[in-house]
Assembly symmetry: C2
Homo-oligomer: 220 residues x 2
DNA sequence: AAAATTTTTTAGATTTACCTAAAAATAAAA
DNA sequence: TTTTATTTTTAGGTAAATCTAAAAAATTTT
């Protein structure tokens, strides 16, 4: 049984593992909003408990055990997000902080019944996949909107930035999950993108385009 | 913002306040499953923060602030219990431990929307009243089944013992909330009580009868 | 390859919530 | 009213998770 803190470390190491194979101390410290010295302490503890493989100065890698533990927390986090949006009418930009707390509730029965109550959802309000109770989930193939070419089109199926500010902005622009978009033009001056959505033509900044994930995209 | 531990102390002091005016160190220690010395430490901290009035060797009393904080936690605990039973099909003997964790989730929006989602329930699965968002609730008048006389009848509206063993036992006997009962006889030998419920006649021990709460009782 | 920079680790403290053992205060019994 | 028993507090310490400052290792730049 892990502490809240250990669980948070595991989850962050898991997410950082998606980008780089060896997760660095400083990267963890930044995500955990703590100091590198504290991370080193915790890393040693997680290594002792068999959650990570650790070589001094070489960063950490999750063991199978560590990966399973992390996926379990991700599953809880995302299921609770679905609950908050589907049942309690939270907006997609309001759920993250509450889910950060709820993900630590320890009860296998609770999460299995919640999963059933929600109809075994496959993805959370941000388009992220929800692992099943065995930790399995489909690794979805996304293209960043910024990487599409003029004339391409596709469906918004995820976001790679979960800040409330970003999500509210998307909402205001009408860029929500499931929406069909088409790339009309890319501005030379600032790299901003002209897209069609909801029958209207809008302009979004490079920064926004970077964090919108597209699937079913028909190349031109 | 209080820690989980502080919240647990406040809730326990609140419940103990229902019986005695000045809550004793040892009583708190027993409920918290900790040592009296630890309780003294925490009491000082709670007094510093203005949650309790404390005079050395004289026990503690909740301040208005402390009482409000405690009621808020009780409200969360009971609402989550309703959620677990009504929405996730938990039995009334399975909810307590999970609610002990859920009651500490800190989000005003969450608990207000949960309350609404549940239809603003007035009592929890054990018959205990749920305070509204202003901390108000009807103090219900219960009679212990053990205090009824032969010929009396009434409705089961609560229990004063929440252990899983006790609740499972009641379930098996058909003694659930809302059931009509009638006192047929009291055994001289062991003080056990002969009652009618569901058209059947059953015998329950004094110990069980002590912890069943009856309302709408028609005296004979 | 040497120097400069960045990353990571160690050393030593702090805070919170505990603990045990012993002293002090209060309450109950003789 | 002593004596005895119970309750409560103090004193001193531990473990988890954090911190700052400084040393050590690794990486990058010159
Ligand atoms: Mn989230
Ligand atoms: Mn999410
Ligand atoms: Mn309960
Ligand atoms: Mn209850």
């Amino acid at each position: 049984m892990q502490s809240f803190t250990e669980e948070n470390y595991l989850k962050i190491i898991y997410h950082l593992s998606e980008t780089s194979n060896n997760v660095q101390t400083n990267a963890i410290a930044e995500q955990m909003q703590t100091k590198p010295a504290s991370v080193t302490d915790m890393i040693k503890k997680l290594a002792d408990k068999g959650f990570v493989d650790y070589i001094k100065y070489q960063g950490v890698t999750l063991t199978e055990k560590g990966k399973n533990a992390a996926i379990d927390i991700v599953r809880k986090h995302r299921l609770w997000e679905v609950f908050l949006v589907d049942k309690l009418n939270f907006k997609w930009d309001e759920v993250h902080d509450v889910a950060e707390e709820l993900e630590h509730i320890k009860s296998v029965a609770l999460i299995e019944r919640l999963d059933e109550f929600l109809g075994f959802p496959k993805s959370d309000p941000h388009g992220d996949p929800i692992p099943d109770k065995n930790g399995r989930f489909a690794k979805t193939q996304f293209t960043k909107l910024i990487d599409l070419k003029i004339g391409d089109s596709g469906t918004i199926t995820g976001v790679s930035q979960h800040s409330s500010a970003f999500l509210k902005h998307l909402e205001k622009l009408g860029l929500t999950l499931g929406k069909q978009i088409h790339i009309n033009d890319v501005t030379d001056f600032d790299g901003s993108v002209e897209i069609s959505v909801n029958g209207k033509q809008i302009n979004i900044s490079r920064e926004v385009a970077k964090h919108i994930l597209i699937s079913n995209n028909g190349k031109n």
